[in-house]
């Protein structure tokens, strides 16, 4: 048994198990000491606990599992184990692989079940019980928004994992929440011109949209982008998250007069709706004298793998891809591949980078005090983490970096070689004015005291 992962001294789990096994009254070693700390979960011992809030079950479970791998790798690298990964390529950085402010980084995990309510309960547990200093993870925007709200109330920094809704750093942005991942709006800007190039400017689009915050903003952004090209929108239909069988929503597409189907789905939903659409023969159809096309604005290699041959030739966008040639991407892919035997997904990448960026900000701030860490993250400009030079914009806590337009590989050479990067859209093109989405970050201080 390798003891690479060590748990916090205050982890009461051991106490819990002992309590059950021995049913003896153990000393009351669970003391919070809440009154002594100046902010929530200020680390007092020789370790500091990260809380990884992951969808290990539910519609986005596959992403969650990959994120977990990435987080565990990040903790290793922060503690100076393994090959160091991005710590070697991140510029600038003060990380040295000796833990965080001299403390060893440990972690706890929780299952969000891809549900906002559970994500919040799980985050609360990690903050209150396990003393997590920072929460990160999630792969649904509703989870991210719910947990971000909680973290703001608790005064704990939230480093969002996979969340693509405009709302996360728009209408629902929070001072304590940060997002490295790109968003639907950027997808629209990046994807639009490529679609026009490939499919022309006279198209009628039919949207199927996952019925929650991410789906709505993605649909809105895609409509904006495609209508700006001159496309028409035939119909936009909302589908429940995790519907499984989408056939009843797909059949109306066939005779709607639309010649493009835009699937604003993610995870298993996208795998199901795309393969089912292909089963309906949509990609062999001719409508309005044009070849019928399917577009998946956001997709990842995990989904592409799941969808199998159905993904071939399909356009979409990604935050990152393991085959990118820059130093950071290469270093991360190499250490992830060495550890787990497969290349990392974009979810893994964003999770890993978020953990490293948080650690770096703590080191630069010289304290775990959240307002200071927030200040260190805001408007931080860095490079070497993949996607070229990147800015953590202070106005909305959104990262700005290159966005990838990808396309399903027609002739994959391995089961991981499923996407081709069509174009790396430069950061300048996808940068927008933070005012367009409204929202209010709220204050950093006074720091709320959790329990």
């Amino acid at each position: 048994m390798s003891h690479t992962k060590v748990f916090g001294r205050r982890s009461v789990l051991r106490g819990g198990l002992a309590g059950i096994l021995a049913t003896s009254t153990m000393p009351l070693f669970f003391t919070r000491g809440a009154y002594a700390q100046e902010f929530c979960n200020a680390p007092t011992g020789d370790t500091v606990t990260f809380g990884f809030n992951l969808p290990l079950t539910g519609a986005y479970a596959e992403e969650g599992a990959d994120e977990q791998k990435a987080y565990e790798l990040a903790v290793k690298h922060l503690n100076g184990e393994g090959d160091g990964g991005l710590i070697n390529t991140l510029k600038p950085t003060v990380l040295k692989g000796n833990g965080l402010l001299g403390k060893k980084v440990v972690f706890v995990t929780g299952d969000t079940a891809t549900k906002a309510d559970q994500a919040r309960a799980s985050a609360t547990r990690m903050i209150e019980r396990d003393g997590a200093i920072m929460i990160t993870g999630g792969s649904s925007s509703s989870e991210a928004i719910a947990v971000q709200g909680l973290c703001q109330e608790m005064g704990v920094i939230f480093m969002a994992g996979l969340t693509h809704s405009n709302d996360t750093t728009g209408k629902d942005k929070k001072r304590y929440g940060f997002r490295h991942f790109f968003n639907a709006y950027m997808s629209g800007i990046a994807l639009g011109p490529e679609l026009a190039k490939a499919y022309g400017k006279d198209r009628r689009a039919y949207h199927l949209t996952a019925d929650y915050t991410w789906g709505w903003t993605q649909e809105e952004s895609m409509r904006q982008a495609t209508e700006a090209l001159g496309w028409q929108t035939a119909q936009a239909v909302k589908t429940p998250l995790g519907a499984g069988d989408f056939s009843q929503y797909l059949t109306p597409v066939l005779n709607s007069g639309a010649d493009v189907l835009i699937l604003n789905h993610y995870g298993n939903d996208m795998v199901n709706s795309l393969t089912q659409a292909v089963q309906f023969g949509m990609r062999d159809k001719q409508v309005n004298g044009k070849q019928f096309e399917i577009v998946v604005p956001l997709f990842s290699e995990l989904m592409a793998k799941g969808a199998g041959p159905a993904i071939k030739g399909i356009f979409g966008t990604s935050n990152w891809h393991w085959a990118l040639p820059d130093e950071g991407s290469k270093a991360f892919t190499k250490s992830f591949g060495a550890e787990y035997g497969s290349p990392p997904s974009q979810a893994a990448h964003t999770a890993y980078v978020q953990a490293i960026l948080y650690a770096d900000a703590v080191e630069r701030a010289g304290t775990f005090y959240p307002p200071a860490v927030i200040k260190a993250l805001e408007d931080f400009e860095f490079d070497g983490a993949g996607n070229g030079p990147t800015l953590y914009r202070g106005a909305d806590h959104q990262c700005f970096k290159n966005v990838l337009v990808v396309r399903g590989n027609e002739s994959p050479t391995s089961q991981y070689d499923v996407l081709n990067v069509v174009r790396e859209v430069p950061r300048e093109e996808v940068t927008y004015d933070p005012a367009i989405f409204g929202g209010d970050l709220g204050p950093a201080e006074p720091v709320p005291l959790c329990a």
Partner: protein
């Protein structure tokens, strides 16, 4: 003591039970500490779900009507409470009143329709209503429920009453009771007091003529006999009371964490309260609360075990064997805790249909018999009902 008995108009036995229950609840932070369960979020969950289960038991335990849709009332209560926070005030009292009223009305409508049938048809009717509520909350009612994301507070909420009373502090406000912030342990103690009050009401209902009438409905159903009066108004009344308890629990969930999600209404959530009640002991006073604590404890503590913790726990096992032991045990904890729950559940239904309370009763009767063999006939043990 006698004075108190008359004031609360409880029998001596019920009063002792109430006092013991109250003490046990209020002292949870102490006695749950060795079990690693004494942190506010979990303690709050314990008492809130205990209210839910105690209320559910009023219906199921007394009348035998198995509702598979009680989560709808919990969800309605949560939404109502959050809306009260958003529109009126962050004070807990209006939220509670609003939530109980809304869930009561909701229960009245669903109960009125569902109680036209009994047996499994009643179960399926309640299930269908709850699933409809859930699906609608998820989709077309998004303006009210905020769909998948869940209803949350926002900085620009109107909060008319609060704003009328003075300027608001920066940042998101926290639910409070007349100025006392209901987070952490304060939140727990507030919920605990509500639970004790709910328990008091339950004790009263159990021992009242109304309670007897409800039990008559149950035996009526079972024996296929008939009574000389219309039982429906009684069943409906207890259905509404039970729905209000659920709404109360939902409101408290929102008070301790101001977010309301549609999942709270899903049928699995309804199934959970059934599990709690059965596990603890249907028809007993304390059982459902106990069942709620046990299940929430498993969910929170068992589910967080992972291989590292296990291998620490089994450090005494020799190295070679340890990984096997950890692998096997690991199937039952952590992500596998549902497996444990399912197994326990099957075992309880098969061998101990009266739940934990019946187990306690059996153990106690064994114990008493061993202690007083001279008395001949087994002593009739009154469980802590």
């Amino acid at each position: 003591m006698g004075n108190l008995v008359s004031k609360l108009s409880l029998s001596r036995r019920d009063l002792l039970l109430l006092l013991a229950f109250g003490a046990a609840v209020l002292l949870m932070p102490l006695w749950l500490s060795p079990f690693g369960a004494a942190y506010p979020d979990l303690l709050q969950k314990f008492v809130i779900y205990a209210i839910f289960a105690v209320g559910f038991n009023l219906l199921f335990g007394l009348t035998g009507y198995l509702s598979f849709g009680h989560a709808a009332f919990l969800g309605a209560g949560s939404y109502a409470a959050v809306w009260s926070f958003k529109l009126l005030s962050m004070d807990a009292l209006p939220a509670l009143i609003f939530a109980v009223a809304i869930s009561g009305i909701f229960a009245l409508v669903i109960g009125y329709l569902s109680l036209r049938r009994s047996g499994i048809y009643f179960s399926i009717l309640t299930l269908a209503f709850a699933q409809m509520s859930y699906n609608l909350a998820y989709s077309v009612l998004t303006p009210i429920t905020n769909g998948e994301t869940g209803l949350q507070l926002a900085l620009d909420d109107p909060r008319v009453l609060d704003r009328a009373l003075g300027p608001q502090p920066e940042g998101l406000p926290v639910p409070h009771l007349l100025g006392l912030e209901l987070t952490g342990y304060t939140g727990f103690f507030f919920c605990a007091l509500v639970l004790i009050l709910a328990f008091y009401i339950t004790v009263k209902i159990f021992s009242s003529p109304f309670g007897l009438m409800l039990r008559a409905i149950k035996s009526n159903q079972n024996r296929m006999g008939y009574m000389g009066f219309d039982t429906k108004p009684y069943a409906l009344t207890v259905f509404v009371i039970s729905g209000m308890f659920a709404g109360l629990a939902g409101a408290l969930l929102a008070i301790t964490d101001p977010l309301a999600g549609a999942e709270r209404m899903q049928w699995t959530a309804s199934g959970e309260v059934v599990l709690m009640t059965i596990l603890g002991g249907v028809g007993t006073l304390v059982g459902p609360a106990l069942g709620a604590v046990v299940i929430k404890y498993f969910e929170n503590i068992f589910s967080a075990f992972n291989d590292q913790i296990l291998s620490n726990a089994f450090a005494f096992v020799p190295e070679g064997l340890r990984e096997t032991v950890v692998a096997i045990v690991g199937k039952f904890v952590g992500e596998g805790w549902h497996l444990t729950l399912g197994l326990i559940f099957v075992l309880v239904v098969v061998f101990l249909p009266g739940g934990i309370m019946e187990g306690i009763r059996r153990i106690m009767s064994l114990f008493r018999r061993a202690q007083r063999p001279a008395k001949g006939a087994p002593a009739r043990i009154q469980p802590a009902e």
